[in-house]
Amino acid sequence: MSFERIDPDLVELDVGMDEILINVGPQHPGTHGVLRVLLRTDGELVLGAEPYIGYLHRCKEKIGENLTARQFIPYTDRLDYLAGMNMNLGWALVVEKLLGLEVPEKAKHLRVLMCELGRIASHLVAAAAMGLDLGSVTPFMYCFRERERIVDLFEAACGSRLTYNYITVGGVMADLPAGWLERCEAFCNEFEQVIPELHAVLTGNAIFIGRTAAIGVLSPETAIDFGCTGPVLRASGVDWDLRRDGEPIYTRLYDGYEFRVIAETEGTYPGAKRHPPVPQAAVVGDSWHRFYVRMLETVESLGLVRQAMARYRDSESPCGEPVKLTQKLPKGEAYLETEAPKGQMGFMVVGNGTAVPWRVRIRSSSFSNLSVLSELCRGGLVADVTAVIGSLDIVLGEVDR
């Protein structure tokens, strides 16, 4: 679809005689934020779906060129605002990579603990929003009820519910308060009882399966070609997780932790016996599988949280000392990707010898995940567009930065 602007007030698009051009968004309940998708439809059949982004562009990369490394941490919170801890970690790690800094043991366990809790929180929102998009309001409430408890834990740890500014260059801002671990333990035990409820209303529900199975099928080659990462990539059958396969400075965080990478290998998912079976209608790489991968990852993250708590209790070392606010960055570049809940989140920092970076680059997972939307929606129905966007689990804060 091409268009030329002759008169800025008049936009001519090549639309066929029996086609409708319809705008989903930017204000729309089903687009997970300010996203505009221009649909070209023939009745209910979608012939083209073009995402337009930039409505939430807040010039983070330019701002990063004016702040020191530690001052930039609150800005990272606001990228994927549903998983602020993971964003903090990505930036903190890349600056540590450039500085050649290694945080002590206890800080590592604390970082894993927070990031995996953040992963659970983010996947809960993903599941909730997908249910909501498809008309099922009740799981939204159940998921947010559980997320409230995680967010309360975060508030006790760092004072904030959504934008944490907790994991910073050199370690974390402060150690955990007394009684936090017991509360977290209680949460883990109770959350395990809720997961079957969610499976009952969503994963195994016949109407949900009817709306998501074989919808928006993404082949592994297309996924890699479009730079899709995270659950989107794993649901297409590609066994790739940066916590296991990433750069050493990141995989060292997960040294000694036991967890399974959720991707379908030889027709089954690891640990799938405790979960509803894959329905007949679902095809690897469709929306149902993307949803399923997130549900299974939530359970894996719960296991990781338990392990992190145990190892945190056992470790003696201090909790990490945040570097000076005016810490100078050496000359050179460093790029690091971490496994954020929505995909691989990459940060690049170019230092020039001063405390303020020369360039900050943020490579967000949702940016690439969203680019595959036009491929997935073509040939489907209008109602499938929201199902696909829900299964890709994008957040516009990340896409637009």
Binding site: C59, G346, R361
Partner: protein, 176 residues
């Protein structure tokens, strides 16, 4: 496969079109000439022992210091750099490709520097190149549809350039 071996393979195949490299850096990088970029990328993607099948990121870094005192201290000439972060999901190796471009084409201020597009090699480059065009002002020749992605379509200027000054007004609204 480590950076040394990859560099060796590339030198073997492309010779002088591989300009420079720093394999001891935090992220080993190899600089290629702008014109040879698509060929090198295709080679990296398709060569059986290399198989760089994922392009993670294309970044534009503007090396321009407006302040004359500080520019004397930097030690580099003003130029634009593009960084391509590649990785192979098959072999688990990573690489950074650099392309050095002049800030303006033929020295004429306002004419954007050009580099061939790699959207036909990795389809994700489509959106990344649009972003570099939008924010850093680099034109990608051969791109299917090069238009702004984050800024509005009628925005003027390329914000991430170091000499960018935001306009006073946009469509009648005061911006600064």
């Amino acid at each position: 496969m480590d950076a040394q071996t990859i560099h060796g393979r590339l030198l073997e195949r492309f010779g002088e079109r591989i300009r420079a490299a720093d394999l001891e850096a935090v992220d080993p990088w190899i600089e290629v000439s702008a014109a040879s970029l698509p060929e090198v990328c295709l080679y990296l993607r398709d060569r059986l022992e290399l198989r760089f099948n994922m392009l993670h990121c294309i970044s534009g870094v503007d090396y321009f210091e407006g302040d004359p005192q500080r520019s004397a201290e930097t030690g580099w000439q003003p130029h634009m750099q593009l960084l391509y972060h590649l990785s192979s999901l098959v072999y688990r190796h990573r690489l950074v490709l650099k392309v050095r471009l002049p800030r303006w084409k033929d020295g004429v201020a306002g004419e954007l520097p050009e580099v061939p597009s790699v959207a036909h090699v990795w389809r994700t480059a489509d959106w990344h190149e649009r972003e570099v065009f939008d924010l850093s002002g680099v034109r990608f020749t051969g791109h299917p549809e090069l238009r702004r992605i984050l800024c509005p379509d009628d925005w003027e200027g390329h914000p991430l350039r170091k000499d960018y000054r935001a306009p006073d007004e946009y469509q009648g609204i005061r911006v600064r």
